[in-house]
Symmetry: C2
């Protein structure tokens, strides 16, 4: 256990709330803020001795390090440099660690405006999902200067299985983008395979048992095939959030001239899932989209 | 070891030759045939006591079971029912096991013409590649009647880590198609991720180290990232063969009305790799295609 520090945590969503709890468990003093105050209050009530604040500035008033995990670029900007934002109260020498999945250009922008107040900023998006946050087993990809990383790393270890310094400001976000790019086309290919198997009259489970140990195998195949075969899509990261992330990837790719043809297509498919009412379904619901275009008579689901 | 049987093996390519060797190692008597006779002869010279034959019919004259691993549908048809084909000499009660990756309709067609001579036929495509053939660690997906499977299974075990009966005639081929469908989009997504990482100035190896244990992880990521980063594409299944397989998948999908949008797109990308001169490169060369469309200045490769 590291020595106890005064921390603030902004954003009590399904990720932020359990991450903040791990900080308390590690012995730190945590003041939390959430846009809907009641959520912050409820968290504080579950953690005796910890506080909920009415604004980010109030949450950060005494903090050495502020962590945040909010929705998107605009939310991060608002929390940090908006009215009643962190920069109104944070002291020179403090550190902001942003766990939001956001753009790399936002990270650079935040570094600039924090710099003016001698405050450090790390972009530190996570993977591992809600379960990883709850178990304290997140993978964290960090961008920013080395001194800030060394200072922030023991704090992040409270809820991580791996914390890796990827490079200068924005590198954490860029790494998270690679992660999402690799997932998009992979899940679509898995969905095409399972949909084809059903249409061909094969036993889908038997097919997965045979092919999952070979060159077609993947984490997604191992961890999602059962719910996909059962046509259940309530078991992971939501399509609405995946679309936000893929939008960031596609915009970044435009800036650096990297082709993402399948990622762009899968993003369009996810927009169709949203149109089917599936914004809250998990990302494997690409299968349900395919079923909407397949001949029902040949489809066992 | 099963009791010694008289076998024939048709097709002494990079897969067939080592598969036939495993049969000899298991104590069976094997006569081999290859379109280019010298290859069959060379194999027989390396295996004292085994024979090379000048036609499929001659190879099969004394055989109880004939295995084949040739190029495509037309090759299988020619070897079995063409002039000097297996059906000219095989006795009633014998069994043909076809390890070629071919169409499901060919399997049904071969079952019909073998039936007329009271000969059994199994479609039994493999995965595991040249290395799996050499190590005797192939995964075999089998379609056909149950009695034929029970009879053929111990022979196939000579070069397999798993032999699974998937269902009636054609089911082995359909399962292999699902395997190739799952691989196509996955490899493209991995290529897009690695290309993006390079264009973004990230350390590609470091990115893979971080993301490979999570939801983006796959066999392809684990086994191909090093050669992809090194821009080497000589380490697996060739693009020319993948195009053949994807063509079979797309034709089958048309028959059963299953959408394969990303598989179809990846097939087109592989045709571009062929145009770049990469027909013999391995399937991960989708990365090289992407590099051809990326800004060189930002690309570390």
């Amino acid at each position: 256990m590291t020595s106890s520090r005064k921390l603030a945590f902004i954003g009590m969503g399904v990720m932020g709330a359990p991450m903040a709890s791990h900080l308390v468990k590690a012995g730190h003093q945590v003041t939390v803020y959430n846009r809907t105050f009641e959520k912050a209050q409820a968290w504080a009530e579950r953690h005796p001795g910890q506080q909920a604040a009415r604004t980010p500035a109030l949450a950060a008033a005494d903090a050495e390090i502020v962590l945040l995990c909010v929705g998107n670029d605009a939310d991060v900007r608002e929390v940090i440099s908006g009215r009643n934002g962190l920069l109104e109260s944070l002291k020179p020498g403090s550190l902001i660690i942003d766990h939001t999945t956001a753009s790399a250009s936002l990270a650079k922008e935040m570094v600039e405006c924090c710099d003016q107040k001698q405050i450090d900023f790390l972009d530190a998006p996570v993977s591992g999902g809600q379960q990883g946050a709850e178990n304290g087993q997140l993978t964290i990809m960090v961008g920013g200067n080395n001194a800030a990383f060394v200072r922030g790393e023991p704090i992040m270890q409270c809820f991580a299985k791996a914390v890796t310094h990827m490079g200068p400001a924005g590198s954490g976000q860029l790494t998270k983008m690679v992660n999402q790019i690799c997932i998009g086309g992979l899940v679509q290919a898995l969905a095409e395979g399972l949909n084809f198997a059903a249409a061909a009259g094969l036993d889908q489970q038997k097919v997965i048992d045979v092919i999952s140990l070979g060159a077609a195998g993947s984490w997604q195949m191992n961890n999602r095939h059962k719910t996909m075969i059962a046509n259940e899509y309530e078991h992971g990261f939501a399509v609405d959030w995946m679309r936000k992330d893929l939008g960031i990837c596609l915009e970044q790719a435009r800036q650096i001239n990297a082709q993402l043809p399948v990622t762009a297509l899968v993003d369009q498919f996810y927009s169709e899932v949203q149109q089917l009412g599936g914004g809250r379904w998990d990302t494997s619901s690409l299968l349900r989209r395919l079923q909407a275009f397949s001949k029902p008579a040949d489809n066992k689901n």
